[in-house]
C-alpha cells in the first residue's frame, strides 16, 4: 500500500494532449474515483499510473518513489480491466497465482495466498474452472482476487462494472467498496458513471479534456461544483444554469427548485416558471419548463416529491410561482468558474 502522487502529467498522442497536466494526490488507503465523460483522458491517466503508457512529461510517485522509468511489472500496482483480462488458457487458480509466479514467490506460499484471496472473495469453489465457464460476476471476483493476491501498492480499476447488467452492478459496487475498506487498499477507480462515483468514492476527481476540473468528496462535488462543467456533468438531471443579468451564471439543483409555498422561511429567490412537460418516475416527478426573464439553452428542470405536490399545482402551459433557497443558489463568473461570494 502506498500513496500515489502525480505532478503535472502530460500525455500527447501525435501532438494532441489526451492528458493535459494532471496533478493528483491519492493518500494511502483512499478510494479515489476518476469521473469524466468518455474520451476525457481518465483511462489514459490510469494507464500511465500502471505503466502501460509512458507520460510525455510530468512525474509519477508511488509510495514516495519516482517511478517514471520503471516498467509496469516493477511498480507493484494491480489493475482490473474493463473486461477483466482474465487469462483464458489458465484455470482460476493459475489466474490468481500468476502475479505471484512472475515474482518467483515460493510454491507453498503461492498456494497459501491463492487460498486466502479466493476465500476472501468467496470463489474457492471455482478454482479449477476456466474463465469461460464463469458468470460475469464470478469473473469480476476472480479478477479482483488476482489483483489483490500480490498485495499491490495500489489497485487501479478501469470501468470494471460496465460489463455487468444493472442488477449485478449494484451488488458488485457494494462488494468492491466493502472489500477495499476491509483491506485498506489505495484504490483509483475510473468510471463515467456518476452513480458509481458518488456511491463509492472517498473523493472524486472530475476530469474533462485531460484536466482535473475539481477534486473533492462526493458532497463537495455535488453541492459546490467548481465550475459549469462539473455542475452539469454531475447530477441527473444536471444543475440548472441560467445567465445572470450583468454577466455570469446562476445555478441551482432541480431538487432545490420548488413551488414557492413549499419553502417555509424567507431567504429565497422567486421565479416564475412555466411548466411544459412533466414525467412521473414513482419516487419523484421531473418537471421541464422555462423561466420568465431568463435565457437558457437547456430546459429548466425541477425535481419534485410527488407526495407533496398536487397534480394540478403544476399544470402544463401555466405559469407557477417557484423559488430556490438563497443558500442553494450557486454563482459562476463569465468564464464558468464558481465565485465563492454572492
Amino acid at each position: 500500500m502506498a500513496a500515489v502522487l502525480t505532478r503535472d502529467i502530460v500525455k500527447k498522442f501525435n501532438e494532441v494532449a489526451a492528458v493535459d497536466g494532471i496533478s493528483l494526490r491519492v493518500p494511502d488507503g483512499e478510494f479515489m474515483v476518476l469521473l469524466g465523460p468518455s474520451g476525457c483522458g481518465k483511462t489514459t491517466f490510469l494507464r500511465i499510473i500502471c505503466g502501460l503508457e509512458q507520460q510525455t512529461s510530468g512525474d509519477l510517485l508511488i509510495g514516495g518513489n519516482i517511478v517514471n522509468e520503471i516498467p509496469p511489472r516493477a511498480r507493484g500496482v494491480a489493475m482490473m480491466f474493463q473486461s477483466y483480462g482474465l487469462y483464458p488458457h489458465y484455470t482460476v487458480r493459475n489466474n490468481i497465482a500468476f502475479p505471484l509466479r512472475t515474482q518467483r514467490v515460493p510454491r507453498e506460499e503461492i498456494a497459501k495466498k491463492v487460498e486466502w484471496a479466493s476465500q476472501l472473495l468467496g470463489i474457492d469453489h471455482l478454482l479449477d474452472r476456466r474463465p469461460r465457464q464463469l458468470s460475469g460476476g464470478e469473473r469480476q471476483r476472480v479478477a479482483l482476487a488476482r489483483a489483490l493476491v500480490r498485495e499491490p501498492t495500489a489497485l487501479l480499476l478501469d470501468e470494471p462494472l460496465s460489463n455487468l447488467d444493472a442488477k449485478l452492478r449494484t451488488s458488485a459496487r457494494q462488494e468492491i467498496r466493502n472489500f477495499q475498506q476491509r483491506v485498506g487498499l489505495t484504490t483509483i477507480y475510473v468510471t463515467h458513471d456518476q452513480v458509481e462515483a458518488m456511491g463509492m468514492g472517498d473523493r472524486i476527481a472530475v476530469i474533462d479534456h485531460g484536466r482535473v476540473r475539481q477534486v473533492g468528496t462526493p458532497p463537495e462535488i455535488y453541492e459546490n461544483p467548481a465550475d459549469l462543467f462539473v455542475a452539469t456533468f454531475v447530477g441527473a438531471p444536471p444543475m440548472n444554469i441560467v445567465s445572470r443579468n450583468g454577466g455570469g451564471y446562476l445555478g441551482f439543483r432541480p431538487e432545490n427548485f420548488l413551488p414557492r409555498d413549499m419553502i417555509e422561511d424567507g431567504g429565497a429567490t422567486e421565479f416564475s416558471f412555466r411548466v411544459d412537460r412533466s414525467e412521473y418516475l414513482g419516487s419523484e416527478r421531473i418537471v421541464y419548463g422555462v423561466m420568465e426573464g431568463f435565457d437558457s439553452k437547456q430546459p429548466i428542470t425541477a425535481k419534485l416529491p410527488p407526495a407533496h405536490v398536487a397534480e394540478d399545482s403544476i399544470r402544463p402551459g401555466e405559469w407557477h410561482p417557484f423559488a430556490v433557497k438563497n443558500s442553494a443558489l450557486r454563482h459562476f463568473d463569465t468564464s464558468g468558474n464558481r465565485t465563492t461570494s454572492h
Partner: protein
Amino acid sequence: MSAIAEPVVKPTSRFHFIFDRRAVLETVLIAPAIIYVLLLVGLPLLLAIYYSLSAYTIYDPTWKFVGLANFKQILQNPTFLDTLRNTFVFTFGSQLLGLVLGKFGAFLLLQPFPGRKIVRALIILPFAVPVALATIAWQWMFDSLYSVINWTMIAAGILTREEAPNWLGNPYLAMLCIIIINAWRFFPFAIVIFLAGITAVPQDVIDAATVDGAGFWRRNYQIILPMILPIMAIGLIFGIVFTFTDLSIVFLLTMGGPGGATSVLGFAGFQTGIVSGDVAHGAAISLFMLPVLLVVVIFMLRFIRRREI
C-alpha cells in the same frame, strides 16, 4: 491490521528494463524476418537489376556494365515481343475465365443444398493441389494419342478420329490449353474469395436494401459488389501476379512450344538465363515483369485504401 504485507522489492537496474520499451522489443522481434527478407529478396532484386545492365554470363562472369544494351537487343528480337504478348494473353485470358467461373461457382455455393460441404471440398481441389502435379495430369488428358477429351468427343460423335485435335501441337490450341489450366487452377480461389466477401457483408445492410425496395440485381451490383470489391482486389492481385510470372505450367506442358507460341516471360527468362547461361539477358527478360507488377500492385493498393475510407 490488514492482511496486506509490504510489496516485494525488485532489482531496478536500467539495463534490466531495456526490453520493457515497446519500440525496442518490437524492433528486436521483427528484425530476423526483415533481415532474412532483405538478404534473400532485397539483395537478389538489386542483383537482378544489375545483371540486366551487365554482360554477365555463367561462362564469363564479369561485372562489366553495358547500360541498356541488353534491353535494346531484347526489344529488337521479334520472338521476345511474341513472348510479351503471350504473357498478357495468358494472364488476362486466364484471370477473366477464372473470375467468370468463380462468380458463378460462388453464386451456386451460396445456396444451401445437401452435400454442399463435399462439393466445396471437391471444388477447392484445383487450388489446393501443387500446380506442377495438376499440370502433369492435364498433360495426360491432352495427350496426342490417348487424350480422354478427344476420346469423349469421338465417342459422342462430335469428331472423327482424323479430326481429333492435337491439343499441344497446335499454337492456338496450346495457348488455349495453358489458359484453361491456369483458369482451372485459380477459379476455386476466386470462389472462396467471393464467398468470404459476401459472407462478410452484414445481413442488416442486405435486409435494409431489400426493405428499401432493391431487387435482386440492384442488391447484387449496387450493394454487395461494391462492398466486396476490396477483398476481390486482393484476390486479383494474387491471381495476376502469380500468373504473369508463372513458369511451371508452360515448362511442364509445352516447353514454350509449338514454335514459341506459348513462351511467356518466366519461361523465356529461365531458358535464356539458366539453360543457356546468358544471365544478363535472362535477367533483362525477367525484369520486364517488374513494371507490370508495380502497376498492378500500386493500382490495387490505392483502390483498397480508397474503399476503406
